[in-house]
């Protein structure tokens, strides 16, 4: 930027960004500096989000949608602004955004409401998911199948961790009523071609849901160009507070669905004889919502979109590549998923070592990674393991963090061999 005429690659100052996250300055086990590489599980929160929560409670907290006083109007405006901010973040309309607790609740809402509407007509129909789904995108559909007699079909995963698109084309057919797929696998980091899958679903008259729990942080999302009927994600993985999530549903699809939970706000009129329900989206938001969560999510999106996102993508791609490279230098290393870009997630095992042993020794050195099945037991089975170690990055991850990880891994391996 200083040399006029030089080709400038966008640079991203992750060090500076890191300073906005108070927790990243802490130590563990006495005085070992924390290196947080468990971002696919949950992200840390920047000062801007923490401050927005404080400000909400210090200035504007009141119950929403029940009108009457100035404070209530202010809280309602903040809550509805949050809805608009979420909507424009993913290319949707505000009335297509429903606030939930998280990805899990969003999927449960869709599976329960849609299957109760369809009822017995689903008998013999298929619901299609993939072998790499998070349990949150398996169990609700198993419950729906049990209720309705629909059958769950599973798109296979290739040895390299990519989806078998041939198999997808085969399974998504005239019997298919719903297709629910993960956008970016939380275990493999692999990005699925959900655009094609949603188009396949639409071509056979099936509805589609994209689990964006991981993709929302690493990819620009536009629900219209994805062509999905539903898109879901959690705030807590996007630098936002816990307890808030999003369900996007196409307006006319949402309008066709019966309510999920019953209570205040979601009704128009209640008598013991007959209750009529309110319009979308409040029809799906029974009771007092997590106002603070919505306000915090809006703050997180504002903070996130104010970053130089182009530079951030470059930075994340660089780190992802480096992470894979570093891992692959280790003897007996097996990294799951394709060897190309991993959306900042790398799952691995090392010959003769249990992932938990690695995790324990890394933890002693301040490095927080995840070990286990990552809520993807069927995928573990597919690859013949019971658990893997998973390192995952965020916007605040630095090359220094990866240096520490590399050194700590080597030390751990040495101890375990």
């Amino acid at each position: 930027m200083s040399d006029v005429g030089a080709i400038v690659k966008p640079t991203f100052d992750a060090m500076k960004l890191k300073a906005e996250f108070p927790i990243l300055a802490r130590t563990v086990h006495g005085n070992v500096p924390l290196v947080y590489l468990d971002n696919a599980a949950t992200s840390q929160k920047p000062r801007a989000v923490i401050d927005a929560i404080t400000k909400y409670y210090e200035c504007s907290n009141a119950n929403v949608h029940r009108g009457g006083h100035a404070l209530g109007a202010e809280a309602t405006a903040l809550y509805e602004d949050a809805r608009s901010i979420v909507a424009s973040f993913i290319g949707a309309q505000p009335n297509e955004i429903i606030f939930t607790r998280g990805t899990t609740e969003s999927i449960n809402l869709v599976a329960a409401s849609w299957s109760s509407m369809m009822g017995e007509t689903l008998k013999g129909c298929t619901i299609v998911v993939t072998e790499m789904e998070h349990h949150a995108n398996i169990v609700p559909w198993q419950m729906a199948c049990e209720k309705t007699g629909a059958v769950l079909k599973v798109i296979r995963v290739h040895d390299d961790g990519t989806l078998d698109m041939e198999h997808a084309r085969e399974l998504i057919n005239d019997t298919t009523a719903f297709v629910s797929v993960v956008h970016v696998s939380n275990t493999l980091g692999v990005e699925n071609d959900v655009r094609t899958i949603c188009a396949l679903a639409r071509s056979v008259g099936a509805l589609s849901l994209v689990d964006g729990a991981q993709s929302i942080v690493h990819h620009a999302i536009n629900v219209t160009s994805l062509g999905c009927d539903f898109f879901v994600f959690s705030g807590h993985k996007l630098y936002a507070p816990t307890g808030i999530g999003v369900l996007f549903g196409r307006a006319n699809v949402l309008e066709s669905l019966p309510p999920y939970q019953g209570g205040g706000s979601m009704i128009l009129d209640v008598t013991f004889e007959r209750t009529t329900y309110n319009d979308v989206p409040v029809r799906f938001e029974a009771g007092t919502p997590n106002m603070e969560g919505a306000v915090g999510l809006a703050a997180a999106i504002r903070w996130f979109t104010a970053l130089d996102l182009e530079a951030l993508r470059v930075h994340e791609a660089e780190l992802s590549e480096r992470l894979l490279r570093d891992l692959n230098t280790i003897d007996g290393m097996r990294v799951f998923g394709p060897q190309t870009l991993h959306a900042g997630i790398a799952s691995f095992v090392i010959d003769g070592m249990h992932a938990h042993d690695l995790g324990t020794l890394l933890d002693e050195q301040g490095v927080a990674i995840r070990t286990g099945h990552h809520c993807t037991m069927p995928l573990m089975k597919r690859f013949g393991v019971t658990s893997t170690a998973r390192a995952s990055i965020a916007a605040y991850t630095t090359h220094d963090d990866l240096d520490v990880l590399s050194a700590a891994l080597l030390r751990s391996v040495r101890l375990l061999r």
Partner: protein
């Protein structure tokens, strides 16, 4: 030695490694030395619930004393189990049942091990006591 005395020995042994690396080196060495487990007992029935890694624990009563046999797929866990079995192997059910309930803390595990490891040990300990309880009732 009573179990109580044994606890102190283990604790002191633990505290003789002020460095995490030495401590784990010791645990790992113990793990590598864990007596072989009878493959016949590698079944769900003997699997211990509540551990992050897989743990199997089998017990038999021999001359009024409980003889344990354990296995895990994780080395550190095997090391910790070795320590536990050192305390409990060949004790009477009564002795085992009378072992202090805050044993994991008294061993210094809570302080010197990561939380999930300490939890895993607590789960194994619970299973050890369940075996002792079962055998104490069989004999009563």
């Amino acid at each position: 030695m009573t179990i109580d005395q044994n606890i102190n020995v283990v604790r002191q042994e633990f505290e003789s490694f002020p460095d995490w690396e030495d401590r784990y080196m010791h645990i790992i060495a113990l793990g590598k030395g864990l007596a072989p487990y009878n493959e016949v007992h590698l079944t769900d029935e003997f699997k211990v619930k509540g551990c992050q890694s897989q743990v199997w624990l089998h017990a038999a009563i021999v001359g009024g004393r409980v003889r344990f046999e354990a296995e895990s797929d994780a080395l550190i866990v095997k090391g910790l189990i070795t320590i536990l079995l050192r305390l409990f192997n060949d004790r009477t059910p009564k002795e085992i049942l009378e072992a202090p309930s805050d044993l994991v803390a008294r061993l210094g595990f809570e302080q010197h091990l990561s939380q999930s490891r300490a939890n895993g040990v607590a789960s194994v300990l619970k299973q050890v006591k369940l075996y002792a309880l079962a055998y104490s009732m069989v004999r009563a």
